[in-house]
Amino acid sequence: MIRFTDVYMHYGDGVEALKRINLYVEQGAMVYVTGRSGAGKSTLLRLIALIERHSRGQIIVNGQNLERVTGNRIPLYRRNIGFTFQEHRLLNDRDVFDNVALPLVISGYRYQEIKKRVRASLDRVGLLKKEKNYPLQLSGGEQQRVGIARAVVHRPALLLADEPTGNLDPALSLEIMQLFERFNQVGVTVLIASHDLAMIKKMNKPIITLREGKLLTHIGQTISE
């Protein structure tokens, strides 16, 4: 599903965010990316989402070489990915239903279909009753779940989650992680960036560890910390 070959990423000011990354995530996997702040977790996800471009090497996602995904192909490429963020990034002037519907509206679905899918997605995160609420009326955990419902409503092949539990207490964090697990069980490849090592270890999933932009452990390796 995702293959990095000798990938380097440095920003304009010369800071090397990623150094010679080689990794492979197979289709249908659920993988955690961990490391301290600034280790390059977010950069890794941003490269996959094409928010940023890598400087050297090759990234292949879902059979597509990302260097060839340019211009008009970027939107189409992104429609196959779902995102969640630490700070939710919900639109506060729209209710829960409209927030979750966003990826479907972008892809040009009909209203009937949108309604069906949004309801199904909200049901899966347990927030069907809150569809008329506005994000600011919800708790942090609920907002994160709305974000997840939005990330999966268009049934993407790949789900990227950047620090999804950053602001939540351990109990809520576990709930969120289990939610991701459930989506993974229906075939979605899930990549979660998190520094919450204690939580990650409990989940018993492959872990990629980054330190100062370098790959410290790969999938299957044990964490030597």
Partner: protein, 321 residues
């Protein structure tokens, strides 16, 4: 059979694409209207500013239009007086009058010979006694003539005057309505001023719309970023802003129209009164329905252009990737 199936499949595909496209446009339009509905004061203020900007050139246009209607009748009353050479024989005077009557630039002429002139002078001047003391009529024969209306309209009155002046039989030729000519010249300058002013105010409307849209883009930055992340095309993201600019432009034109109607209503009474003093039944003309459509079309186009420019300029600044 198979081929036909493919064709109908393609057609269906195109119809589906067209439907999606229409739905996306309808969505963008409804969304833009919704944004205006949510923030009516801000939108109304923007439209009011556009309305004032558009009403100025449109108002001047109405003013010019009315000035044109008023002065259209003046060409006919514009008169040239020819004082003929006193040495001319009566026969020569009559034949000159006949030649001028045939002239294509001249509508009608009136000949007042020296005797008539003297008689008139005697009657109106009050110097009848003094005049009897003269042994010879000091007054020349006079021809009063009206230039053809087209001649005045084409601005060829001066050439006609010059032609007449150069006739041997004519001692002096003069426009009775020199001031009217000056007024026409002034109106011409005013027309140019209005054109320049219109261009400047159109530019102002572009800036107003551009700024409104720029602010809207920055205000909805988070939304734009999320849309982009979930695979929205640039066209999808830009559409609501373009519609918004278009709607503000149209709204502004309607405001301008309302302002103009109000102003004309306010002016109507005094103008009728003034016209009455000149024994005229002149009435102020407002914009025709065609002209209102043009005004709205101009407002809409300026709105669309302004928002397009703002979108082009500001999307790069916040663009992802």
């Amino acid at each position: 059979m198979k081929k036909r199936a493919t064709i109908s499949g393609n057609t269906q595909g195109y119809i589906a694409i067209l439907n999606t496209w229409l739905a996306q446009h309808a969505r963008a339009l409804i969304f833009s209207l919704g944004q205006i509905y949510k923030n009516p004061i801000g939108s109304l203020l923007t439209m009011a500013v556009i309305g004032v900007s558009l009403s100025l050139p449109a108002g001047f246009y109405i003013l010019l239009d009315n000035a044109g209607r008023v002065t259209a009748n003046w060409g006919g009353s514009m008169q040239i007086t020819l004082f003929l050479n006193p040495d001319l024989a009566d026969q020569e005077i009559v034949s000159l009058a006949e030649t001028l009557r045939q002239h294509e630039y001249i509508d009608n002429i009136k000949l007042i010979d020296a005797d008539e002139a003297l008689e008139e002078y005697r009657r109106y001047s009050g110097f009848s006694e003094a005049l009897t003391a003269l042994d010879k009529n000091p007054l020349p024969a006079v021809i009063l003539l009206n230039p053809a209306r087209e001649t005045i309209a084409a601005g060829e009155g001066e050439q006609l005057l010059e032609y007449l002046q150069n006739l041997e039989a004519v001692e002096t030729a003069q426009f009775d309505r020199q001031w009217a000519n000056r007024l026409f010249a002034f109106i011409e300058i005013f027309q140019r001023v209005v054109i320049v002013l219109s261009a400047l105010l159109a530019f102002a409307v572009l800036l107003i719309i551009g700024n409104t849209i720029r602010l809207a883009i920055y205000h909805r930055r988070a939304e734009i970023e999320i849309n982009k992340l979930f695979g929205a095309t640039d066209a999808f993201i830009q559409r609501p802003f373009l519609y918004s600019g278009f709607i503000h432009g149209i709204g502004g034109s309607v405001m301008a129209w309302i302002l103009l109607i109000t102003s004309i209503k306010l002016l109507e009474q005094p103008v009728v009164k003034l016209a009455g003093l000149y024994a005229s039944n002149f009435q102020l003309f407002s914009l025709s329905s065609g002209e209102v459509m043009v005004l709205i079309a101009i407002g809409g186009s300026l709105g669309l252009l302004g928002s397009w420019l703002a979108v082009q300029r500001n999307f790069k600044a916040i663009g992802l990737s």
